[in-house]
Structures are given as C-alpha cells and as structure tokens.
C-alpha cells in the first residue's frame, strides 16, 4: 500500500465542511468591522487635530482602490520570469529602473510581479500594454512579440527593418507597429491576428482609431493633423483651432479618445523650441473636436513638484497619466468629464512606468 493511496483512503472519511453562505456572512462582518474601526479612529484623530488648531493636514491624498491596480508596488530585484505555460490575467502596468538598460517588470492587480523577457538593448522600456491590460507586446531583438495574458498564445511580428514603435487604438482592438521610422507600419487586428502592411512617408508620432481604418499624425508647428486612410494609404490634412492653449503654450502629440472623434492634446509652456523634441512640464490637457478643430474642454493639471505624462484615454478609466514626483511615482486617472484626479497606484520614485494603453515610445 503506497502512502498516496493510504492518504486518499483516509481522506474518504472527510465530510463536507464547506459552507459558502456562512463564510460570506463572516466576511461581511469582518469587512464591516475593518472599515468601521479605522473610520472611527480616523474621526477621533482628525477631530483632535482640528481641535488642536494644527495648521497642517496629511499632504498626500489616500490611494483610491481600483481593482485594476495594486494600491502600492514595491519593486524587487530578481522578479520571476513571466510564465510561458499558463495565463496570468490582465496586467496593471509595467515598471523598470532604467540605468544603462531597462529590465521591465509586469505588475498584476494583486501586486504579483513578473520579469518580461524583453531585449535589454533599448534605452527605455520597449513594451506596449493594451488598454485592458490583456495583451503585452515587447521587443526581442528585431522581433516584436505579442502575448495574450489570458492564455499562453504569443505571436511574433517582424518587419523589413527593426521595430521602433507601437500604438494601441483606445479600445485595444488595433495595434500598429512602426518599423525603423521609414514609414513602414503593421496594423494588427488583435481579435483575429490579421495584419495589414502600410507604407507611407515617415512620421514619428501617430495614433490609430478604434476602427483601425485611419491613423492620426500630428504636424509640428502647425495647427492641424494629417489623417491617413489605412486601406488606401491616402492622407488628408485637417485644421485645428489656431491656438489650442494660452499664449506661450504648445501642444504635444495628442491622444485619441475612445470615440476617435476627439483628441486630447497635452500642453506645455515652452518655446520657441521644437515641442516634439524638447521636454517640459505638461500643464494642461485640451480635448479637441477633430471634426471642426475647436477646443471642447481644458483640464489644468496641478503644478506641484512633479511632472505629468498623459499616456492614453481609455473607455473605462478616462485619461491615465504617470505622475513623476521626487519621492514617489503615481498612476493617476483623470475623469474625462469632471476633471477629477484619482491616484490609483504608487511606487517609489526613480522608476519608469508603462501604463495601460501606452505605446512605445511612451513619452509625450
């Protein structure tokens, strides 16, 4: 008689001990206590502070719990490799400390971290995470690999030259890869893996619409953009309002919104320099109607000790931004209607991050 069989024989004596309803009832009580006690303590502490007339309150707003993000991430060396033989589920974002090279690390909503096997010869985090966190793409030498994190499928894409950039449509269906900056693009329909090859004059920045049928290319120094029809390869020029911001403010390459009918332009107060090369503090975002070019809304960003990087406009999250401060890096959501800012995750300062919906290069 083997030990395994003996254990199973002994286990046959077990009864059914599992009662889901009782467990949920206890969990509800436990949660009620865990919320009620800190709130009462906080009320007492806050009341004491106010009564004492102290001139300060905690400077850092509390992290908003969003099930798509871990509230706080502690980067660690030697994260285990992203498993190739099993699903890991949707990811929250990617981080990495970029010194000579960047080793990107994938973060899941429960805080689990996996090292991404990206090629280390890029000076920044050469990955692209889909708006829903389900698909992760990264460079591996001259290839671009796209992994479905809901499973184990991994597709490999190659171009006529080296991969240099990627952009997601706001709904995450389309991923456009750019090769070597020579005007070569691969448009991928992630629902079925089909690809379309597109050769055009080279542009550095672009966005792809939710239908995958056209790409938007901003034009430096001009109040306009080019719209490239993917099926035909024809480009049409479109004008915007003469000034999207206030005097001295310059627009950066925009983020297409989920309707693909407006675009969010970051503004930064610098010039006259090339805003596509220079970096500066983003002070506001303006939502621009692409049909007639007028500014619909302006969202001013708080000017504190940090810098803002708007990354994408997502259907369920609004504008997602990275906020780099001297002591902390924050993942922030900006409500597309109210302009309310919500911090959903924090990690230590000094880390580069690639958020959901971000392409590569990530900077704006």
């Amino acid at each position: 008689m083997r030990l395994r069989e003996s254990l199973h024989e002994l286990a046959d004596e077990a009864r059914s001990y599992a009662d889901p309803d009782a467990a949920v009832t206890r969990a509800r009580r436990r949660r009620a206590r865990s919320v009620a006690v800190p709130l009462s303590v906080a009320a007492v502490v806050l009341g004491g502070l106010v009564a004492a007339g102290l001139p300060w309150l905690p400077a850092e707003p509390p992290v908003q719990v969003d099930p798509r993000y871990p509230a706080r991430v502690s980067p660690r060396d030697g994260a285990v490799p992203l498993p190739a033989d099993r699903a890991v589920g949707a990811a929250s974002y990617v981080y990495g400390r970029c010194a000579s090279t960047c080793q990107p690390v994938l973060v899941l909503p429960d805080g689990t971290q996996y090292a991404i096997p990206a090629s280390p010869d890029h000076g920044s985090i050469a990955v692209a995470l889909s708006p829903d966190g389900r698909r992760l793409g990264w460079a591996n030498r001259n290839e671009f690999r796209l992994r479905d994190l809901y499973g184990t499928q991994e597709n490999v894409y190659t171009g006529k030259s080296i991969w240099t950039g990627a952009r997601w449509s706001p709904n995450g269906r389309w991923l456009v890869l750019m090769w070597s900056g020579q005007g070569e693009y691969t448009i991928i329909d992630t629902t079925n893996g089909r690809t379309t090859w597109l050769a055009t004059p080279p542009w550095s920045w672009f966005d792809v619409s939710d239908t995958g049928e056209w790409l938007l290319f901003p034009i430096p120094y001009e109040a306009g953009y080019d719209r490239l029809d993917a099926p035909t390869g024809e480009a049409t020029h479109h004008k915007l309002a003469p000034s999207l911001g206030q005097a001295g403010e310059y627009p950066l390459p925009p983020l297409l919104t989920p309707c693909s009918c407006t675009a969010m332009f970051p503004l930064f107060p610098s010039g006259p320099v090339d805003p596509y090369i220079a970096s500066g503090p983003v002070v506001a975002l303006v939502d621009v109607d692409l049909a007639d070019g007028h500014v619909i809304t302006r969202f001013d960003l708080p000017q504190d000790d940090g810098t803002w990087r708007p990354v994408a406009v997502l259907p369920d999250e609004g504008v997602v931004l990275a906020h780099f401060r001297p002591d902390v890096t924050e993942v922030v959501q900006l409500h597309s209607i109210t302009g309310e800012l919500t911090v959903v995750s924090r990690l230590p300062a000094g880390f580069e991050v690639v958020l959901r919906g971000a392409g590569f290069p990530a900077g704006r």
């Binding site: 286990a11 949920v24 436990r30």
Partner: protein, 167 residues
C-alpha cells in the same frame, strides 16, 4: 456588481476536495470544519483580489496550512482524530481500519509543517516548487521536511511506506 460574485460557485465546486485536505491536515472533523471555514472566510473577505489572481483554490489551501500552523503555535488543539476513526471502523474491513488508524496516528505525531508537506506532496500531488509556494518556504526546505517526515513515518508505520521509499 456583487463583491462575492462567483464565490459560492467556487466553494460548491471545490468544497469536497478542500474538505478532504482539511481533514488530512487536522485528522478531526470538528477541527477540519473550523479550519476550512476560517480559510473560506478569509478567502471571501479578499475575494475580488483572490479571484483576479486566478488561483482561489491555491489561496484556500495556503490559508488552511497557515491557519493550522497558527493553531499549533498557540497550542489550542493537540488531539488527533481517533474518535472519527473509531466511528468509521464500524462499516469497514478490519485491515482498512487498521491502515487508516496507523496512518492517522503516524501523521498525528509529525510536526505540523511536515504533515502539511506530506499532504500537499502525496495527496494533492503538488510538485516541490508548488508545495514551497503554498507553505511560503524554499524548495530545499520542502525536500528536507519531506525527507524527515518520511523517515519518521517509516519508523512508525513501515507498511505504509514499503513502496514510497523508492520514489
């Protein structure tokens, strides 16, 4: 959306298997029920995160092992399931009863962690790496604990391990 959506279905589907594990970890029906229900309560409390993590069954197992260790540290429970064994003896053959009693008593003298290693490795069929993950220790620790546990079982109930020793 209900915070506990899917929890009931999960427990109904996996409850029988988890009950068996709970029983082997404790050797007592009452303790097994307490152990599993506490683990399920903990799981329900964190259900959105656990469900997103994709391995709720593993979470419950880990919670049970940790809880069992916690009980042992507090010395609240020291007895094993002799009563349950005698009740089951009525309907079974004498040989089977003797085997189960021998195994139950041999398991009862093992340290909690060694017992958990045996249950996870030889009942749950987990690899050493998976066992280490559940126990929150290194693979080397799992190996040494399994080795020590088998050695003690071999001394206490040599018939149970006549073929296991060769594995």
């Amino acid at each position: 959306m209900d915070r506990y959506e899917g929890f009931r279905e999960f427990v109904l589907a996996r409850g029988p298997g988890l009950s068996r594990t709970a029983y082997l970890l404790t050797g007592d029906h009452q303790l097994a029920e307490d152990l599993l229900q506490q683990a399920l309560t903990k799981t329900a409390t964190h259900w959105p995160r656990v469900r997103t993590g994709g391995n709720p069954e593993g979470y419950v197992r880990r919670a049970m092992v940790n809880q069992r260790t916690s009980w042992w540290r507090r010395r609240r429970y020291t007895e094993v399931g002799a009563e349950a064994l005698s009740a089951a003896a009525v309907a079974d053959s004498a040989d089977a009863v003797v085997r189960r009693m021998a195994l139950a008593r041999a398991l009862s003298v093992l340290p909690i962690r060694q017992r958990a290693v045996l249950v996870l490795r030889f009942f749950e069929d987990m690899t050493e790496a998976q066992t280490a993950e559940v126990l929150g220790c290194s693979v080397g620790t799992v190996k040494s604990q399994a080795h020590d546990a088998l050695a003690r079982l071999r001394a206490l109930a040599p018939d149970l391990l006549s073929e296991e020793a060769a594995r």
